[in-house]
Structures are given as C-alpha cells and as structure tokens.
C-alpha cells in the first residue's frame, strides 16, 4: 500500500502513499498510522500522518533507518477502518478585521467576496489531518473556484481563530502562529484545549465540519 519509503534526514522515515489527495488514500495513511501506533515499537518517537504521507520519526540512539524500514514493511496492517467520527459546526465571522486576505483572494480568484463566502459556508468538509500547530485541522475539499496558493512570504503572526484557505483546503489557526494561508475570517470557538490530555482536539481526522457565518455582534457575545 505504501508506494515508496525513503529517509527524511537521518532520524525519520518518509512513507509515500501517492500524489493525489482523497479520502481513500488518506484512510490508508490513517490505517498505517494506527497499526504502527498499536505495535508500540521501541525507538519510534513520533508519527505524523498527512493527506498522503506518513512520517515516522525515531530516536537515532536506539534504532536507525534500515531497522525501522524493515519493521514497517513487515507490519500487520489493521483492516478496520471504523473509528469514531463527529459532525461539528464552526461559527466564523468575516468582519473586515478578521478577513485579512479577502482582497487578495478577490484578485486571485477573480470573483467577489460574496461569491467566495457563498461557496465556503454551509458546505460539508472532511478532516484529513491535524497538526502544524496544536489541534489545527486540515479540511477539504473546497470548490475549484476557491483554489489559491499560499502567501509568498508567510505571515510572522496569524491571529488565533483565523480560518484560512490554500488550494482545495481550509484550516483553523488554533493559536497565534506564523503561517501562509489566505485568511477569510475568525472563529470564537476554542479548537484545542491542552488541559484535556486524553482528548485535546475538538476536530479529529475523519470528522465532518460545516462552517456557519456569524455577525460581528454574535462573535463578540459568543462565549457569554
């Protein structure tokens, strides 16, 4: 199922599942991720599943590339695709102060902001992965008309709660962080809670997300 395994530096494996991004390939990645996690292999210290890649990092003091590669190649893969998923609504305010890149998007996409919002809100998106910063979900797929590249130079600070677009994906900045996505709005919802060590993420791979537009007033009063 893995098309190719190579090394990423001297302390990680780069498992390539293909170039395409779709639920089928992504579920293969997740299956491998869960299978390796279950084996609890001594020396492996992190797994990073993404759309179509899985990175296996290891402790070079204990194990090396060839050893980990052999273990992954001879792994028993769980065939059970069932894992608990949820449908979650995310409120987003698109006030001028929040939609930092809406003008840039209007220029790149050559459609006006109302059309952009119309194509974004109320649609079902699939969560492919979480990461970059703690709890950030990567959601897809956006309609073709909304596909735009990242910013040429990433912002040093993207505000917490920002909702961004890049290519066929949307994401939510769970913390203030550097980042290069096109920001169209902001959610008052807390997407990551580190006090819940067992389940810190509101959104997990496999979940369905629907964005709902709210007004500035609803945003300000959200947590009251």
């Amino acid at each position: 199922m893995i098309k190719n395994i190579s090394n990423l530096g001297d302390a990680a494996l780069y498992c390539d599942f293909g170039k395409e991004v779709n639920k089928e390939i992504n579920s293969k990645v997740i299956r491998y991720f869960k299978s390796i996690q279950k084996e609890n292999i001594d020396g492996i210290n992190n797994l990073t599943p993404s759309y179509n890649k899985l990175i296996v990092s290891f402790n070079l003091r204990k194990i090396n590339f060839q050893m980990v590669k052999r273990k992954i190649e001879n792994l028993n893969i769980i065939n059970d695709d069932k894992f608990e998923t949820n449908k979650i609504q995310i409120p987003v305010c698109c006030d001028e102060n929040f939609s930092l890149d809406i003008k840039r998007l209007e220029e790149i996409l050559k459609i006006n902001r109302d059309k952009i919002y119309e194509k974004f809100f109320g649609k079902e998106f699939f969560c492919y992965m979480t990461g970059f910063i703690a709890g950030m979900p990567f959601l897809g797929d956006l309609e073709n008309e909304l596909h735009a590249k990242r910013l040429e130079t990433p912002r040093v600070k993207v505000p917490k709660g920002s909702v961004g677009l890049t290519e066929q994906f949307a994401n939510i900045y769970t913390f203030e962080s550097p980042g290069g996505w096109n920001i169209i709005g902001n959610t008052p919802l807390n997407i990551f809670d580190s006090s819940k060590e067992k389940k810190p993420n509101l959104i997990n791979p496999g979940d369905t997300i629907i964005f709902e537009r709210i007004t500035e007033n609803q945003y300000q009063n959200y947590n009251e």
Partner: protein
Amino acid sequence: MSKNYFKILRAGINSTFQDDGRNNLYHIGIPFSGAMDNRNFLLVNKLVGNKLKNPVIEFAYQGPLLKYSGEKINIAITGDVNFTIKRNNNLLNGICYQAYTLEHGDELDIISTNKSVYGYLAVGGEFDIKYQWSSCSVNTKANIGANDGKKLETNQRVNILKINQDLGIKKLDYLNTKIENIRLIKGTNFDYFSENGKKTFFEKEFFVSKLSDRMGMRLEGPKIENIVNTNIKSEGLIKGVIQVPADGNPIIMLSDHGTIGGYPKIGVVISADYDKLVQLTPGSKIKFEEIELSNAETLFKLYDLETQNLISQIR
C-alpha cells in the same frame, strides 16, 4: 508554600523550563520541544548530581536575575554564559561547567550568552512544576508545559521541591565550539529546485536572520530558485528540515516547529549538527554541505559518544 525558592528579579528574554521533550504527539500538532541544545542540557544536570533528564531553566541571549531564599543548594550553568553570584557585598564571576553552592540571600545574575543563543541553569534538586504529557517543556505558542506554558516573568517565584543532599562541587573542562558548515541530507523535494538553485544552496553563504526563535531559524542570502512548485501538499515535518517558501529564503525547523508544513523540503540538517546549529546567533554565517545517510548515522554515533564521555568526566 515551599521554603526554598528563587524570586525572579529580571526574567530575561526567553527563559523557560525545559527537559527532554515530549514524544508521540506530532499527530495532534504538538511538537517535541525540550532543550534546544541537548548536550548542554545533559551536562548541566550531571554537574549538580541530578538525573540527566531533569527539568532545567533554558535562557536565550539575556538570562534571568534570581534571588535565592532557603537552604544551601548547588547550581550550575552550561553554554557560553557570563554570570555573577552576589553574596552580601561580594561579587563573584561565575564559570560555566562548574557547580556553585548558593546560600540564602544570594543573587544569581545570568547576564548574557556569549556569541551563542542558549544557556542552561540547573539546581541540584527538583523544581516544583507541572508536567503535561509527561514533560515539563514549555511551548509558549500552545501554552503547554510548566509555568502555564509561559516564559518566566519578573517578580514571580520559582519553588524548589527537593534539594540534593550532596553539595560536593563537580566540574568539567569543556569549551563550546562554533561551527559554520552545517551538514545535511538531501530533502524529499530536492528536485524541485533548478540546477542553479541547488548550486546556490551549496556554494553560497547564508546568514541567520533576526526572525529566528525556538520554532525556526530563517535564513537570508541569495534566493533559491524553484522550477516545479513552491507549494507541496502539507505533510509532516521534523526538526532540522529546511523548507524553502516561494520567496526563496530557507527556513530551518527547530524544536518547537509546526508539525506539518507545505513548503518544499530542500534538505534536513543531520542530528549530529543540531546542537551547534541552534546556537548560531542572528548574523552568523552558514554554509551547507551534503552528506550520505550512512555518514550522518556514524557522525551522530561519534557525537553521542563524545557527549557520553563528557558526562562521565564530570565527578
């Protein structure tokens, strides 16, 4: 309330609790964190008779000024650091890689790191701090770890839970060396760059930019030309990965890095060079040199052996 504590009279620029970092959380977006310079972290613990992976205070550029209250306690500082200890009206210039015994009322002033970024302060004993996912390491971006995931602040207290009984003075004869040549292994998107771009990358000099922190080190220099695509589908990162965004300026991922990234990876810094890399101050020159995986593995073994040797020399 603990009867043994430090009062922070000046917090310093970026003073945080760090230990060996936390594992197995990349998939939810939580990076490794931990002490940036692992060798100096291990050495400082050994110098005060702690377990090697005990939490310590890491500081960058300017460290904290601390006033101690309580029973006698050993401390040590590693890195390349100027510091003083004030007892009554006597000022003692401190030496790195040597333990000192602090008494009630002493002031430890960690003035600055010298041509390096990070230094480490350990106490012989244990700080009274919170662990999250079995690590105290502070990640200020996600507010995870000790001290509510925040930097130390002026006027706060740092409580000490336990003091080691052995107050013998341990020492090590060691000098940090600085490097310019950073060795790397080709990245998974190496072929995204033009022949000219690759030549530029390996033959020209780059400079560490001021926009560098525990998350990443941004470099300035000649632009590296991409001929395939300046974006990739976002995928996992590890520390040491060198990404090149559309503007052509490389960014090296460091210990608090984002766990996922969407810029092409031109290379990955080898594990053996990581501790030295993170110590490069803004303005420092960097040249990249490509090596094979098997060499990188050998170099790490040698580096680790050297670290183990240094640890065993501390008595």
